[in-house]
């Protein structure tokens, strides 16, 4: 039978959508800066630099909020893939995305308040939010105050490694975000996960009374 559970607290949803908007802004302006003389430029260079700086600082502030809220509410635990059996469960998720979903099978992982992500999501979100994003933000902050970069490094300008790492890590975030948008359509229906991220309510298909799907399988 259908269950309806309150999965995502308001703060998380607000953070998520603000973060999403900022990533889009940073991507558009970042591309305008990097490909300044091509058709990928959507915003003039001067305006792009201005907007990118402001959006960058905002997303750093938002990230601090994200960390704090995660620590206070204990939500950080969701991002930790839990052994044993991570590989096996991840493979099952991948198999489901590749074949199972075509055959109309049930998602092997049913979200619950204490286990929102499947193991693949947990690992991917962990890598992006706790490894890649900090790299983007730290290099971005150095970029924001370029005089703090080392004068020279390995015979090249000190800003060079900062810029290259910022660009590549930023690209990784953008590529992940594209995939993330698509994976968001792989819920029970194409839009169900989007609705959950807006309302906070998840329409599940667990047997009533059950709150955790992990041990059952």
């Amino acid at each position: 039978m259908k269950t309806r559970i309150y999965l995502l607290p308001l703060w998380l949803r607000l953070w998520h959508w603000s973060n999403a908007v900022l990533i889009v802004i940073l991507t558009v302006t970042g591309a305008s800066l990097h490909f300044s003389d091509t058709h990928l430029t959507m915003v003039s260079f001067a305006r792009a630099a201005q907007i990118h700086d402001i959006a960058g600082m905002t997303i750093v502030a938002l990230y601090v909020f994200f960390l704090t809220a995660n620590a206070v509410t204990g939500n950080w635990w969701q991002y930790i893939p839990k052994p044993p059996g991570i590989m096996a469960r991840s493979l099952r998720v991948m198999r489901y995305y590749a074949f199972g979903i075509m055959r109309g099978e049930r998602d092997p992982h049913e979200p619950t308040p204490d286990s929102n992500f499947n193991d693949m999501q947990a690992s991917a979100y962990f890598a992006i939010m706790y490894l890649v994003m900090p790299v983007v933000m730290i290099t971005g902050l150095i970029f924001l105050f370029p005089l703090t970069a080392p004068d020279r490094l390995f015979g090249l300008d000190g800003l060079f490694p900062v810029a290259v790492v910022h660009y590549m890590a930023g690209a990784a975030v953008v590529l992940f975000a594209i995939l993330h948008v698509y994976l968001g359509t792989l819920g029970h229906t194409a839009t169900s996960q989007y609705k959950t991220m807006i309302t906070g309510w998840h329409e599940g298909d667990l047997p009533s009374g059950r709150t955790s799907s992990r041990r059952a399988r």
Partner: protein
């Protein structure tokens, strides 16, 4: 064994000999003058430096001098030596009146104008200079010397290192444009000096730009080589992309002397700039950009295929043809 040693010795001898001849050729090219002539020039100039240098002021060769006045007229022998005029005798420009002390009365008026020795250059440059904002507004006061201190100035091609060229050439402009006193000596009476930082507020990372580009990059017309026409402020370069792009104008400006050394470091375009600055939009790597584009394309194609399969499978299931 013996034979191999002999070969090694010969090879070693050849290497040493080639290094010696190379360094000899080097010394010759930097000293276009013969050593005797060079020594004579140094001797002559040392006579002036006996008074007109920090050392000279510390231990003046005579007591009957106006030391307070001399204090404002000191020159650094080392800087002079490395300048474009390092091999020119002081008296060639200042006249023989300077060689005796007390100096002649109107020594100042006797200095040779640039054109006396650089007729062709001055002829070319003067038309540009005459069109510049400075010459138009202060023709009587503004001269070549207002920017070029011929005792220290060195041409860009000889300096080589961009940050040193920038430091020299920007100091030229900032000497006036950062000093109320100096500015007022040239400006019309009622003209207040606009603050350089304030004027260029629209340029982000202003301090970084001052260390990475020259004023003349934006204040002279684009083209091959350097023009002495300092443009009216309304014509100054405000377009970021003139520098922040693949075809950066800096290639024909600040970096034009280094272009010959350009090699594609790590596959970057404009890599001649990389050892000195990272310029967004200009120093970029087509390989990295291509890789990012390729991954994005793969991702999108993958998602499209998956979507089509999903839709197809859903239709198939709905039609009930799928065997249970």
């Amino acid at each position: 064994m013996q034979k191999r040693r002999r070969w090694l010795a010969i090879a070693f001898g050849l290497i040493v000999a080639s290094m010696l001849s190379a360094s000899a050729a080097d010394a010759q090219s930097t000293a276009a003058l013969d050593p005797a002539k060079l020594a004579e020039i140094r001797d002559q100039n040392a006579k002036c430096f006996a008074c007109h240098s920090p050392e000279g002021l510390k231990s003046p060769p005579r007591q009957d001098m106006d030391l307070d006045k001399l204090k404002t007229m000191l020159h650094d022998p080392a800087l002079y030596e490395t300048s474009s005029h390092g091999r020119v005798e002081c008296r060639t420009c200042h006249g023989v009146g300077a060689t005796t002390f007390p100096h002649g009365a109107n020594l100042k008026a006797q200095v040779s104008p640039c054109s006396e020795c650089h007729a062709a250059k001055v002829f070319r440059i003067e038309t540009q200079f005459d069109a510049s904002v400075h010459a138009k507004t202060q023709k009587d006061k503004f001269t070549c010397w207002s920017c070029h201190d011929g005792h220290v100035y060195n041409i860009a091609a000889k300096i080589g290192a961009p940050h040193k060229i920038i430091a020299q050439d920007n100091a030229m402009c900032l000497d006036c444009h950062n000093s109320d006193l100096q500015f007022s000596k040239f400006a019309p009476v009622d003209k207040r000096r606009p603050l350089i930082g304030r004027i260029h507020e629209w340029l982000p990372n202003t301090q970084l730009h001052w260390a990475a580009v020259r004023c003349v990059e934006c204040h002279t017309p684009a083209g091959r080589g350097f023009s002495h026409e300092i443009l009216d402020k309304s014509k100054a370069e405000k377009n970021c992309v003139s520098c922040h792009s693949r075809d950066s104008s800096l290639r024909t400006r600040l970096y034009r002397h280094l272009l010959a050394e350009e090699e594609e470091t790590l596959g970057f375009v404009n890599s001649v700039i990389l050892p000195h600055a990272y310029i967004i939009g200009a120093t970029r790597n087509p390989w990295i950009d291509g890789a990012v584009g390729a991954v994005a394309a793969l991702l999108i194609v993958g998602m499209l295929v998956h979507t089509v399969l999903r839709l197809g499978a859903a239709l198939w299931r709905r039609r009930g043809r799928r065997p249970a």
